[in-house]
């Protein structure tokens, strides 16, 4: 490592070019499977099997929705993620607002439950919820998936919103009240716009967690199939290129949202 030389005494250890190259190698390792996934969506395979490179083609993009049950699984995933985003977004934001704003008896317990829900092993949450559904003979399907996704997303939304609420200046709300605004008007015109970035970030996190979830869904899905469950089910028989493309499109959408978000943040500041 070439850390010797100019002003060496002022520089922290391990600060050379070597570490920069190392960081890029780790990033390359992290991105490698994604690159392969994207690449093999363009693979000119003859059958359903997509195992070795046969040449470049766009034909699979034209046949994206040809596998009926895969398309249905993707639609299920999107619907469930949207519902989770809205329900967990609202319920989690309310909890985050309460925890960030008020001191009250029971806030400690709420914090502990939320920490437990965030750090609990997914398989334990999935298994215990299935235990409840089995005991009560609740039929498994679309709605039990929604219930489970809202359950594990609420805490993440609440923590995100709480962080935002804690940074806010309360005097603005007091000013609104002094100017004669009622509780609801103050909330709608002052509080909500101020916490909205937190609510939006939390809700989007809920969407991302939901659309990616496998373990808890695996336990509580019954016969309903989501995108990750469909992929799981076809591991043994081979993954068709359509899965690569759908993964690519979800990835591209995520990257676009992140980039737009960063650009808007830069413009604001």
């Amino acid at each position: 490592m070439t850390t010797r030389g100019r002003a060496a005494g002022r520089r922290p250890l391990l600060a050379g070019r070597g570490l920069q190259i190392y960081t890029w190698l780790v990033i390359a390792w992290l991105v490698a499977p994604i690159a392969v996934m994207v690449l093999f969506g363009f693979n000119d395979t003859q059958g359903r099997y997509n195992t070795s490179w046969q040449g470049f083609t766009l034909k699979w993009y034209g046949k994206l929705f040809e596998i009926g049950d895969l398309t249905e699984a993707l639609v299920n995933s999107l619907l469930i993620a949207l519902l989770t985003m809205v329900i967990a977004g609202v319920l989690g934001s309310l909890i985050g607002l309460a925890l960030g704003r008020y001191r009250f008896r029971g806030s400690g317990t709420t914090n502990v439950v939320m920490f437990a829900a965030i750090s609990c092993a997914e398989i334990v949450m999935g298994a215990s919820l299935l235990s409840l559904f089995v005991t009560l003979a609740v039929p498994l399907g679309f709605w039990t998936i929604v219930i489970s996704h809202v359950m594990f997303s609420i805490s993440f939304v609440a923590v995100t919103v709480r962080a935002r609420v804690m940074t806010l200046d309360r005097s603005l709300e007091e000013a609104a009240r002094d100017l004669g605004a009622g509780t609801w008007t103050t909330f709608r015109l002052v509080t909500l716009p101020m916490i909205f970035p937190g609510v939006l970030a939390g809700s989007m996190l809920a969407f991302a967690l939901s659309i990616d979830d496998f373990v808890i869904t695996n336990f509580n899905a019954g016969g309903t199939v989501t995108f990750p469950l469909w992929i799981w089910g076809s591991t043994r028989v081979g993954i068709p290129p359509q899965v690569n493309i759908m993964g690519t499109l979800i990835f591209a959408a995520g990257v676009s949202i992140a980039v737009i978000n960063a650009l808007m943040a830069r413009r604001r500041s």
Binding site: P12, L13, I34, R101, V112, S148, N218, P228, I239
Partner: protein, 288 residues
């Protein structure tokens, strides 16, 4: 309603809907699972509650191999993540400059692809005659029978890969927070760069490492996706057993007893680790 009373009730009203959801679908199920694990009976005749602790004894005696293997894989992948991730977090925090958020974004890219799909992509890359091993074998650099899949290395590597960003982020946050003037002070007091690192940077980064371990050891130890996709019959983890017992054989008492054993094991592990680090209150650290 008086204004004061309303103000006192507001937080409870805000918490109520989400709190009820968590109570019914997170807290109550834990109790239900506990009672399920104490039932006796059979799949055909149904189960009844009987303070039956046999499921725990049976579960432990039949599946202790998988339990031990899960802990070893979980620990191994966590240690690998610390070793791989610390220099990355360190470099971004101290040398990332204007591009810190870009590097963090690149580290988070895997989360934009489904967990199952990422793991399957590794299976595809590592397959016996696939895009990595195939060319090496045809060049004669590797023996024909060489394989990565179905070995413990593949499973541990997959676990380390899948949870690495959860390890790097908290370490980055802790390192980022270190005031550069503290480092200057150490050097003004004639600490060598190595001493500065060992006695200033490393201790100050420990809360981040702690949070990272918390966020990666639990999912890694309880995972069954990596062991199923990348592993073979002799890399089965406890998660595979639980999943199979719940969804295939439907032996609920044994399955729930194993889930509880796993949960207890993880809790004990976390608290022992917190104690060893001298962290008085795990929740305190985690809440930050």
């Amino acid at each position: 309603m008086s204004r004061r009373l309303r103000a006192a009730l507001t937080p409870y009203a805000l918490i109520f809907p989400g709190g009820i959801w968590l109570a019914i679908f997170f807290v109550v199920p834990m109790v239900v699972m506990l009672s399920l694990s104490l039932q006796s009976g059979s799949v055909e005749e149904g189960y009844a509650f009987a303070w039956n602790w046999h499921s725990y004894a049976d579960g432990l005696s039949n599946y202790h191999d998988q339990i031990i293997r899960s802990v070893i894989y979980g620990l191994a992948s966590t240690v690998i993540q610390i070793i791989i991730g610390f220099p990355v977090a360190y470099w971004i925090a101290f040398k990332g400059g204007k591009h810190k958020s870009l590097y963090l974004f690149l580290l988070l890219l895997p989360f934009l692809v489904s967990f199952v799909l990422r793991t399957i992509s590794w299976q595809f890359m590592l397959s016996d005659n696939g895009i990595l091993l195939g060319p090496l074998k045809s060049l004669g650099l590797l023996p024909e029978g060489f394989r990565v899949l179905a070995t413990p290395y593949a499973v541990i590597g997959g676990l380390a890969y899948n949870f690495l960003p959860f390890m790097v982020l908290p370490m980055y946050v802790a390192l980022e927070r270190i005031d550069p003037r503290v480092l200057e002070a150490a050097q003004d007091l004639y600490a060598s760069r190595f001493q500065t690192f060992l006695r200033v940077v490393l201790p100050l980064s420990l809360p981040g490492v702690f949070a990272g371990v918390l966020m990666t050891f639990v999912p890694a130890t309880s995972d069954y996706v990596n062991a199923s996709v990348l592993g073979g019959t002799n890399t089965t983890m406890i998660g595979n057993v639980i999943q199979n017992q719940y969804l295939v054989t439907q032996d609920y008492p044994t399955a729930s007893a194993l889930s509880f054993t796993l949960m207890a094991l993880l809790l004990v592990g976390i608290f022992a680790y917190a104690k060893a680090l001298g962290t008085e209150d795990v929740l305190e650290v985690a809440a930050r």
